[in-house]
């Protein structure tokens, strides 16, 4: 089956979802450190050819992914976690013994976190309405992506994640379905749901369910953005309270980033949100329409009132300290003159994938002091995979009842601190996916925050959270290796042997 035109988009999200750099063959060929000024054109050209090369490689990866999916027929399976010596053991694991376990939970529903796998199991739910860059491809086609996410959850976070695409015509039907399946889970991960309906679905489920509900496109991306920004500000000796910031794009991630910035004390009147219609202020022509169709964006319009600016991106950026772009993949969205009009030592995050809103070298040459993108082949990758496995590890170990913004910020702060411990520089404001020791630390910080906020069903100490996270995360990698060693997971076949298999 050939669908190569679409694979460029697949790679887009694979990268931001943080497949470890060394798993992607393109990484070594396109390493591009932030440059200091000379021969701009040559570097711009090499950037573009890097993009073309990466597109070709993406198509090849797509073909291989289809072949391997056919070979392995899915990416996760259920594996028993109890010994089974003989069929007689089922008198314990199943009836009649299990009846007493059920009665215990009936008497105290929270005991389901002790007596079943609920404490470590989450559902990855989607309606398939905005999958990767593919758009509304529906729940069936979304399944391979959800399986991939489940694998990431297990491998990085030690979390048992069940891929669960749902056929739902309305947000209400979707919400009711997730509510109905929640008893089996210790947390819910919403995935690839279109904006703005993702906001209402997340809000409503967070209200209804007694377990953490997370939407990575909102919270994960915003948390890693905030983490990177905190360090970029630290490096350039500024504080959130004094900066002027422009958010380009008003989708899932940036609207949450705006909310978190305001929580951190950012002056709303120095925060400009810009979308394709220009600066979002309280008197823009479409503001009443937003009140009806996108109340979350409407709220930001009222809170910031354009950050004291109106008009287009250029107006918003004059003298700004920070530009956080999460908009559309077009390297000409942000122009060098935009960056030149910003204040001293501007910070530029161009997070569109696979192509950032401005190439990092172009941004640096125009004067950007620190540049981040969503890609692993440039320095400073803003990557939600740095956040979500650890956040879930933390809330699951605490058996948390919810996941408020304080948790999101606790994860962001811990991620930022970790990068500081390794030494901050303009090309290292965030940990990379190789710095795996960061994950248990973020998990422990999240666990601590749930205890502090009084939403933990089980309050552990910091060291206990840390130890538990380390053990469970390590267990997953050991499990995957053990299955391979035992040949229960077949060796990864070469492209050649796969094509021979197909012919045979």
């Amino acid at each position: 089956m050939r669908q190569s035109p679409n694979y460029s988009n697949v790679s887009a999200k694979v990268l931001i979802n943080g497949t470890p750099v060394n798993a992607l063959p393109m990484a070594e060929s396109t390493t591009a450190p932030v440059a200091e000024g000379r021969d701009a054109r040559r570097r711009t050209r090499s950037n573009r050819s890097a993009a073309a090369r990466s597109e070709g490689k993406t198509a090849a990866l797509g073909r291989r992914a289809v072949a391997l999916s056919e070979f392995y027929q899915g990416k996760v399976e259920t594996v028993p976690k109890v010994p089974v010596r003989s069929l007689a053991d089922f008198a314990l694991w199943y009836t009649p013994g299990v009846a007493e376990v059920s009665r215990t939970i009936q008497a105290d529903p929270d005991r389901s976190f002790d007596l079943t796998g609920r404490w470590n199991t989450i559902a990855i739910v989607t309606d398939g309405s905005r999958v990767l860059g593919l758009g509304d491809i529906g729940p069936r086609a979304a399944l391979p992506v959800m399986e991939g996410k489940a694998l990431l959850f297990k491998w990085l976070g030690g979390v048992d994640a069940v891929p669960l695409p749902i056929v739902a015509k309305t947000p209400e039907a979707f919400i009711a379905t997730v509510e109905a399946i929640a008893p089996a889970f210790g947390g819910i991960n919403l995935e690839d749901i279109a904006s703005p309906k993702c906001f209402g679905i997340l809000e409503e489920l967070q209200k209804r369910l007694p377990i953490p509900v997370w939407h990575d496109d909102q919270l994960g991306t915003a948390a890693s953005t905030i983490a990177g920004l905190l360090n970029a500000l630290e490096l350039t000796h500024r504080s959130v309270r004094e900066i002027r910031t422009v958010l380009l794009g008003a989708g899932a991630a940036n609207l949450v980033t705006a909310r978190l910035l305001l929580t951190l004390g950012h002056d709303p009147h120095r925060l400009s949100v810009v979308d394709h219609r220009g600066v979002l202020d309280a008197e823009r022509d479409d503001v009443d329409e937003l009140m009806l169709r996108n109340p979350w964006k409407y709220r930001v319009a009222l809170q910031t009132d354009g950050g004291g600016r109106s008009g287009d991106l250029a107006h918003a950026l004059e003298g700004a300290d920070v530009l956080l772009a999460a908009s559309t993949p077009d390297p000409n969205t942000i122009r060098p003159e935009h960056i030149r009009s910003m204040g001293k030592d501007p910070i530029v995050f161009a997070l569109a994938n696979p192509v950032p809103e401005i190439w990092p070298q172009v941004a640096s040459e125009a004067g950007a002091a620190i540049v981040a993108t969503g890609r692993s082949d440039f320095p400073n990758q803003v990557n939600n995979s740095l956040i979500f496995p650890a956040v879930f590890r933390g809330v699951l170990d605490a058996r948390a009842r919810s996941i408020p913004d304080e948790i999101v910020l606790a994860a962001a702060r811990e991620l930022a601190l970790h990068a500081r411990d390794r030494g901050l520089s303009t090309t290292h404001i965030l940990p990379t996916m190789e710095e795996t020791e960061v994950f248990p630390h973020v998990a422990a910080a999240v666990g601590d925050a749930t205890v502090r906020l009084g939403i933990a069903r089980r309050a552990l100490s910091h060291d206990e959270f840390l130890e538990r996270a380390r053990t469970l995360m390590e267990r997953s990698t050991r499990l995957v290796r053990a299955l391979s060693l035992a040949r229960l997971t077949p060796k990864m076949p070469s492209a050649k042997s796969l094509s021979q298999r197909k012919q045979g």
Binding site: A282, E283, D285, V287, D288, E289, M291, L292, R293, Y298, A301, L302, D305
Partner: protein, 176 residues
């Protein structure tokens, strides 16, 4: 005669928690009122294709407002901002006194437009506007106050329901 001269809203009688100053609209307000009226009509457009705003709506808004400012059967109140927004018209309410044949009370005051710029919402301003326009309509002999808005506008439905309004008539439409 300027209808609004008779309203009880003249004078500095706004409640202190409301960040506006309400007064009868004047001819000089028309250029500021037109864009607000058009914003409201464009909002209505969101609810039903039969509420699509015409190309010449701006000219019409001008004409209607000018005519009604001197119509004793119409009341238009303008809301001005305070502080730095002093002298800026940030909202308005427009109502018409209509006869009700066959029914009693005989005269009704119909609120046809009520609009506030977003930053002035949720401070009790809408409620204040409603209170003031109701007294103005009562002063003009209305025995009942009604409000017209798109059937699908749930925000308006809730706003009025909370303040004791109930649906008494429906207007159903079909294109020809």
């Amino acid at each position: 005669m300027n209808a609004s001269n008779e309203t009880s809203a003249s004078g500095p009688n706004e409640s202190p928690t409301v960040p506006i100053h309400l007064r009868p609209a004047r001819a000089a307000d028309v250029p500021a009122l037109v864009p607000l009226l058009l914003r409201l009509k464009r909002l209505n457009e969101e609810f039903d294709p039969l509420l699509k705003v015409r190309d010449d709506a701006e000219r019409q808004a001008n004409e209607v407002l000018r005519a009604q400012l001197s119509d004793p059967k119409a009341v238009i109140l303008a809301a001005e901002g305070v502080g730095p927004d002093k002298d800026k018209v940030v909202g308005f309410v427009r109502a018409l006194v209509r006869e009700r044949p066959f029914y009693t009370p005989e005269w009704e005051g119909v609120i046809v437009d009520i609009y506030l710029l977003p930053l002035y919402r949720r401070h009790g301003v809408g409620e204040y506007l409603l209170r003031e326009i109701s007294s103005a309509l009562k002063a003009k002999g209305a025995g009942v106050v009604t409000a017209e808005f798109p059937a699908q506008n749930e925000i308006a439905s809730r706003f009025y329901a909370k303040r004791g309004f109930r649906a008494i008539q429906s207007l159903h439409a079909r294109s020809l």
